[in-house]
Symmetry: C2
Subunit: 144 residues, 2 copies
């Protein structure tokens, strides 16, 4: 069990001590450095975190593909990191990025293109930024 000294150091210290989860991952939120819009939520393992810090370009770890990837390596839709912040308990990072074209694999600027609307019965989704900047079939081939 962590002691309160461990917690204090992690929360109040200046040492980067990422707290990876059982799968070895941190949560990463990427926002548009210009507009503040949340573009995507993804994960970083230790190597992705190190590569992102060293290169200034976003690297992630794909749980679905069980692989490290540089954002935009297939699509060209890279993320240049303007600033990286670490949260209090060091299990989540926030990167402010300059996003080239679309952050979302569906071809949209942000992955968060639908709003949740509470209704009379079940909650529903409505599109708010439905426009695709690019055609995912062209960028990723048939199986994005």
């Amino acid at each position: 069990m962590p002691t309160s000294a461990d917690i204090d150091e992690r929360e109040e210290g200046l040492e980067l001590k990422p707290k990876f989860d059982a799968s070895g991952l941190l949560t990463c939120v990427a926002t548009d450095a210009a507009t503040g819009e949340v573009l995507m939520v993804a994960h970083m393992n230790d190597e992705a975190l190190r590569k992102t810090i060293a290169s200034g370009e976003a690297w992630y770890f794909s749980r679905a593909r069980n692989a490290l990837w540089r954002k935009g390596e297939t699509s060209g839709h890279t993320q240049h990191v303007v600033e990286m912040r670490m949260d209090c308990d060091q299990d989540a990072v926030w990167i402010r990025v300059e996003q080239k074209d679309a952050a979302c694999h569906t071809g949209r600027r942000s992955c968060f293109y639908r709003r949740v609307e509470a209704g009379e019965g079940e909650a529903r989704l409505t599109f708010v930024d439905a426009d695709r900047l690019v055609d995912p079939a062209k960028v990723y081939g048939k199986h994005p």
Copy 2:
């Protein structure tokens, strides 16, 4: 395995079909509705998601305490939800909130109060918003 029809429906449909992880959780990013600042990253289980949608106040599920909690129930630092968005594959939600006082349990406005700085050797953290709005010992007692 999900079929491509399942994926299409989840990504392009208007039905709320949250994709909870193996622990029954979604990732939730809360940003300040006024400034766009990322305040915190936390988790919601099905009940937290439903309660948030129904009440317009943020509810989360604490992995550390294994318990549902209404944000601010102890501290009074509630989050009124202005807008909720769902991401492409419905495993992350983004809420834009009106945050009462501090989002972070350390008493700071945001959990992301330290910047990651790449240096010559190891990356280090620097404080960017170190000021505490409230004294956590007063809000939470001795053991925040």
